[in-house]
């Protein structure tokens, strides 16, 4: 009898282990609804616009464009940041900027010229993880956008999916800075006149420890574009300095691949983490078709695509460049 009970218990535990095995990296914690409820329910109330009808930005809001963009299935994107009272960013670590409490960052997605959604990240506390995130879906008349904490599938009859509030952390929480496209490397290129870039930030005294010079991504055009693409699309998960997580393993790679571009490691391509950790492993020199990285970025489908989130279409221009890069290695 005792032995029978033990066997039944063993079976139950085994089934439980199979069901919740530690390999389920795609399962994230659900965001606490009381947190998203703290954010305004309308985009017009978030502080982005002085007048949402005309699109006039509120005072202190800056537009910016990272030099290497995250692929979003071809959606057109615009980005803005508000640093509260022009308080400087703590840039003592040039690769992991720490933003002042009250910082707000917005990103707007349009498809075919139609505004679909605008995402907000707002730093509500002093800690690195004290960010709240929420997407706002534009109304069909484009007069305002309404909070969508559950996200939306095929929003506004396009194939664009709006992430649930909890999904933002899947990528953003992979870096201590939380903000992925506003960094020394991403802002190093000269911006348009109405946008902010690294030089402007330095000039306006908005960086606590400005770099001595603007970082330049090494390599020829193909190499720099490949390193930039991997930095923008892969490094928020695949890096060696991820903040520790106490919850489920959520898009937290266990392998040693590192696709980051770091300010102190830009002397030549060989000193970049991508060349040190990926080339020769997930990237086979001269052989894109035998390279795991190339196969994943050219695939779409459950558990066999990279990036794993927020994309259903292959970035053909980036793939063409990655192919050239691998063939030339």
């Amino acid at each position: 009898m005792q032995a029978n009970r033990l066997r039944v218990r063993c079976a139950i535990v085994l089934v439980a282990l199979l069901g919740s095995s530690c390999g389920r990296y795609w399962v994230c914690d659900e965001v606490d609804a009381t947190q998203t409820a703290q954010l305004p329910q309308r985009l017009s109330e978030t502080g982005l616009y002085a007048d949402i009808a005309t699109g006039a930005l509120a005072p202190g809001v800056w537009a910016y464009t990272p030099q290497f963009e995250l692929w979003s299935d071809g959606a057109e994107k615009q980005r803005w940041i508000l640093l509260p009272n022009d308080r400087p960013i703590d840039t003592s670590n040039l690769d992991e900027w720490r933003f002042p409490q009250g910082t707000k960052v917005w990103k707007q997605f349009s498809v075919g010229g139609v505004r679909i959604e605008t995402r907000l990240l707002e730093k509500r506390g002093p800690g690195d993880a004290d960010w709240l995130s929420l997407a706002y879906v534009w109304s069909p008349d484009a007069k305002d956008a309404i909070a969508a904490p559950l996200g939306a599938i095929d929003a506004q009859h396009t194939d664009h999916d709006v992430p649930a509030a909890g999904e933002c952390s899947a990528c953003h929480a992979g870096r201590r800075s939380f903000i992925l496209g506003f960094s020394a490397i991403q802002l190093a290129a000269s911006a348009a006149t109405d946008e902010i870039d690294l030089d402007t930030l330095i000039h306006r005294g908005l960086l606590s420890n400005p770099p001595e010079s603007s970082p330049v991504v090494p390599g020829n055009a193909v190499e720099a574009a490949a390193l930039g693409y991997l930095h923008a699309n892969c490094s928020h998960c695949h890096n060696q300095t991820r903040p520790a997580r106490s919850g489920a393993r959520c898009f937290d790679p266990e392998k040693d691949d590192d696709f980051t571009l770091e300010v102190a490691q830009l002397d030549d391509v060989l000193s970049t983490p991508t060349y040190r950790t990926v080339v020769g492993h997930a990237v086979k020199r001269g052989n894109p078709d035998d390279s795991k990285l190339y196969k994943l970025v050219t695939s779409r489908g459950l558990f066999k695509q990279m990036p794993p989130l927020a994309t259903e279409k292959v970035d053909s221009a980036a793939v063409a460049n990655l192919r050239l890069w691998i063939e030339g290695l």
């Binding site: 032995a3 029978n4 066997r7 039944v8 063993c10 079976a11 085994l14 089934v15 282990l17 199979l18 069901g19 095995s21 389920r24 795609w26 399962v27 994230c28 914690d29 659900e30 609804a33 879906v137 969508a148 904490p149 559950l150 996200g151 939306a152 599938i153 095929d154 929003a155 999916d161 709006v162 992430p163 649930a164 909890g166 999904e167 899947a170 489920a248 959520c250 898009f251 794993p308 989130l309 927020a310």
Partner: protein
């Protein structure tokens, strides 16, 4: 992973062998007899979900069902069922969140109208009526609603009365069973009626709930006894969405097929373990839904 699955399947089978004494499944219980059943289906499904911003529910889930049946007399028995779902729900951008939900427990009676024997063949006709206790989980984040919808897909949409939150389900059914060793065939028609009692947290701005939902589910299964221990079963059902309990937010096929293959392992005359695999060929679930699992039945 394959090794883990094989190992745990072996342990499960070993545990089942030793946990249950030897017996089989006789659909006709003697007065005072009881039957208990535990079913676990694991599968992946993409099913319609009637919220404008989230027109589908996608994910993987364990659909668990505990059932009991007690024979009050030769023709009349009392039944109880309690569904539970554990799963992972896909979010719009592609990550998943774990969720658990209670289904609507059901209680009802089954009455055997006809039980005829002609030589080796038997023919039985039974009618049943179940009423659901409206306990199915729902929440503002729609996570339990969605995991229930996924479980509904895993079961081929055959049991909306188990998996629809915010309704009082009333389900009449009739089953006809013919058996002549080594064959048996069972057909069933169920007509779940769902009476709306709450909005189940569905957002009123984007979802229209209906006061009544009504569906018809017609199924058939044939079994062939291979040996004293083993039977093979093949079955299918068709689900007809006559009047949806929630207005669809996009075009949804009103008819759903679902096919099932099973291997029955008999342990004497009082217990059986069923291993089955089920999927849809067409309809909303075709190409996106597949499930498999275990069912254990014991006559007490």
């Amino acid at each position: 992973m394959k090794v883990k699955i094989a190992f745990s399947a072996a342990v499960l089978s070993w545990a089942a062998r030793t946990a249950f004494a030897e017996p089989a499944i006789d659909p006709a219980l003697p007065p005072g007899g009881a039957q208990i059943e535990a079913q676990a289906h694991f599968g992946v499904a993409t099913t319609p979900f009637d919220v404008t911003a989230l027109p589908e529910a996608k994910g993987q889930a364990f659909a668990l069902l505990a059932s009991g049946r007690y024979a009050l007399s030769v023709p009349l028995s009392f039944e109880l069922r309690a569904p539970l779902v554990l799963g992972s729900v896909a979010q719009p951008a592609g990550s998943y969140v774990d969720a658990a939900a209670l289904g609507n427990p059901q209680m009802g009676v089954r009455y055997r109208f006809i039980q005829r024997r002609s030589g080796e063949a038997t023919l039985g006709l039974a009618g049943a009526f179940e009423i659901g206790i409206p306990l199915a989980s729902h929440a503002e984040d729609l996570m339990p609603n969605r995991v229930l919808a996924i479980a509904d897909g895993i079961e081929g949409r055959a049991h909306p009365e188990w998996f629809t939150p915010g309704v009082l389900p009333l389900t009449p059914s009739a089953a006809l069973r013919w058996a002549s060793a080594p064959w048996s065939v069972e057909t069933e028609l169920r007509l779940p009626l769902l009476v709306r009692i709450s909005e189940a947290n569905l957002p009123s701005t984007s979802t229209d709930t209906n006061v009544l939902g009504f569906a018809a589910v017609a199924g058939a299964e044939a079994r062939y006894r291979l040996s004293r221990r083993l039977s093979l079963a093949a079955g299918a059902h068709l689900f007809f969405d006559i009047a949806p309990s929630v207005a669809h937010v996009r075009d949804v096929s009103r008819v759903q097929d679902f096919e099932r293959l099973g291997l029955h392992i008999h342990f004497g005359s009082r217990a059986a373990l069923v291993v089955d695999l089920q999927t849809a060929i067409a309809g909303e679930l075709g190409g996106s839904t597949v499930a498999g699992g275990l069912r254990a039945v014991v006559n007490l």
